[in-house]
């Protein structure tokens, strides 16, 4: 009898189970993994409506160059890869028609960028681009720009920014510049000059003549303005330099200063570390009134302050706890607390413009490496692993870090610094091309673009 009962019971349980299962007939699948390979994109040469000769060459060449710059920008992020132009099936013309998506799908292209350009009656260049989602068969973006022909490269950067922004949700950073220290000459007689270039290494310019030492340029977060430190008569002097107007201004002479001040997020203040009787503390200076306020008062050495993007907090490093570690405090100097607790020392913290991370140079295991952690000190990750990487600077969108890498000095060779960039995921490390040895990079905010 027991057997029969059990048998029935199990049958009942089975029926109930079946019932439960069929109630969930709507198939629901969790997808928690994806591939993080670069997304295939295609950027055919931008087509001239009428191919004419311009002051910068034939219009078709400008179109080809623009698409090359765009491809180069997008690929440099490590998020996209370019599909070989030889594989293209459809020839994109200047006609304002939808592309034939069927001829792009076999190439696995997901994003297609088409563009046309023409010379307006006023002699200006007009460039239009469209970004197509080949999978959905829709236009994702379409924008036109008018500009003097000589500006074609900037247009290419601006378009790259639009595409990048549409495909990643992040602001672009291609229409930006980098200020750095160009170094030349023997180690004993090193010439250091202030230099500027486009984010991709184009348009290199030297800003100082090398007659005096320059160090640690820092960009204003909202103006094309930098501060830098120079040694005038062997005294540290801080300059303010406007890149667009080429105007230098002396901010002051600061004995024992080792790093130039950094700007506040509104660009109206600078924050710095000043030494008084051998004890460094953090000070803030109002750029309009030139009034200096002391923020920390501790026997330890407090240096390298950097504001959070909302201006409410400051990260700096201090040896008050015995070794050099990162500390965060409120903008008025209150509520100081330590955030770094790993092995080794931490230097040059920089708060991400996105606000979610703090980059730093970590010194330990006989190496200098670039790392990031969250502002609460959690989630520390090292992004690079070379002999000596230091001086991180964020791209204006808080996505990429640039820093300088010095090779090990051995038997009279090596010891040369060069600029490198790395994505904040630790992926896509690449060297930034410079004509001379380069150190101390500082990333500009996006260049101004006027819109109608």
């Amino acid at each position: 009898m027991g057997m029969i009962f059990l048998r029935r019971l199990s049958a009942l349980v089975f029926v109930i189970l079946m019932g439960v299962t069929s109630a969930h007939a709507q198939l629901r699948v969790d997808v928690a993994r994806g591939n993080i390979e670069p997304v295939p994109i295609a950027v055919p040469e931008f087509a001239p409506v009428v191919d004419v000769e311009t002051s910068t060459g034939p219009l078709s060449d400008i179109g080809a160059s623009i698409s090359q710059v765009i491809v180069s920008n997008l690929v440099s992020t490590g998020l996209f890869r370019s599909v070989d132009e030889n594989a293209f099936i459809e020839k994109i013309t200047a006609a304002p028609t939808r592309p034939n998506f069927a001829s792009w799908r076999p190439l696995a292209v997901q994003g297609l960028v088409t563009g046309r350009l023409e010379i307006k009656p006023d002699g200006n260049l007009r460039v239009e681009f469209r970004l197509w989602d080949v999978v959905q068969e829709i236009q994702m973006e379409g924008v036109g720009y008018n500009t003097p022909i000589s500006n074609w490269r900037r247009i290419a950067h601006v378009i790259s920014d639009r595409i990048y922004s549409r495909l990643t949700g992040e602001e672009g950073y291609f229409d930006t510049r980098i200020v750095y220290i160009a170094e030349q000459g023997a180690a004993t007689d090193r010439k250091k000059r202030l230099a500027i270039m486009d984010q991709d290494g184009a348009n290199q310019q030297l800003l100082t003549d090398g007659s005096y030492l320059v160090l640690t340029p820092r960009f204003s977060p909202n103006r094309q303005e930098i501060t830098f430190l120079s040694y005038f008569n062997d005294q540290p002097r801080v300059y303010l330099f406007n890149i667009l107007t080429n105007r230098f201004e002396v901010l002051g002479d600061f004995p024992n200063m080792t790093f130039a001040p950094r700007f506040s997020p509104d660009g109206n203040k600078v924050i710095m570390s000043l030494a008084d009787d051998g004890n460094s503390d953090i000070y803030v200076m109002d750029l309009r009134t030139r009034k200096v306020t002391r923020l920390t008062d501790d026997p330890g050495i407090d240096t390298s302050p950097s504001y959070s993007p909302d201006g409410s907090r400051i990260v700096f490093n201090s040896d008050r706890g015995g070794s050099q570690q990162l500390y965060v405090m409120d903008a008025d100097g209150s509520n100081v607390h330590r955030i770094s607790f790993g092995n080794g020392r931490y230097a040059t913290p920089v708060w991400s413009p996105r606000g979610d991370l703090i980059a730093f140079t970590k010194i330990g295991e006989r190496k200098f490496r670039i790392g990031v952690m969250r502002p609460d000190g959690k989630g520390e990750r090292l992004l690079t692993d070379a002999y000596q990487d230091e001086g991180p600077t964020w791209s204006p969108n808080g996505r990429v870090l640039m820093f300088f890498r010095t090779t090990r000095y051995r038997n009279g060779s090596g010891g040369k610094p060069s600029l490198w960039s790395v994505d904040l995921t630790g992926y896509n490390e690449r060297q930034v091309p410079t004509p001379f040895d380069a150190s101390d990079p500082a990333w500009s905010p996006p260049l101004p673009v006027s819109t109608r």
Binding site: A32, G34, N35, I36, Q136
Partner: protein, 292 residues
Amino acid sequence: MSSELLKNIVGWSLSILLHVGVAVAAYVGLPYLTRPEIAPPPPISIEFVAIAAKTQQAAPKEVVEQEATEEKPQPKYAAAEQPVELVEDAVPLPAKAAPKEAAPAPKPKPKPKPQLSKTRKLAQSIRPRGKPKAPSRLKSTRIAALIDKSIKEEKDVTKKDEKKKEEKKKNETNKKKPNLLAGARGTIATATIRDALSQKLAACWSFPRGAKGVEKMQVMVRITLRPDGTLLRRPELINAGNMNEGFYRVFAESARRAVQLCAPYSDVAKTLFEMGESSIDFNFNGADFAGG
């Protein structure tokens, strides 16, 4: 008296035996009892095991390969890149002037010229760019741990030819798809279908890594299938979040693109229609990408 006692003993022991027997029979026999009732499934469950084994095999393989390939190209890439060349590459127009000449004079002679310069230009411009194309070294499941370059494991990775691996991987996935789903039949195999679909989608989903707050994002995409497994209509976003927020929009779009790229779903369609269903909900979740 002794016979009574004997009877009692016999009675008791019989009773105990019977009870124990019932208990043992229930304990041991229950699985056997239920089994004949649902006789048909066993072959399926055998296949289930086989499939599951394959599923598990495939996933790590892919990951290992990804790690291996990236490790190699990265340092090489950085070292091999001719920085100045890359920049100049985009600027000089002379090389590109050739194609323009070709347009007005479409004679056989000029033709090879532009083709050469064009391919050269392409080769120059694409070679350095092509390198990051290598599958990422990042293991999609544990990015946070892997991107920390202080982890030494990354250094000892077998070296293989990228392309071979890529092809191999493709072949594997191609082979894998039909096998995975071939045995999935009926309700019992739903879990396998889920597993297989989840894997299939993982390959199609270009994850928007590094997007701010991506670890908290999720979106549901519903597809409706025709019996042949093709999509009846464009995938719908179910209960999508704020599509005006750039990061989320990109996340949701990447999910929708993934289900489209993965179509057709011919392997699942049959089983699905047997279940009296024609639609599938894919729940995309960025939680595993935390730290990116």
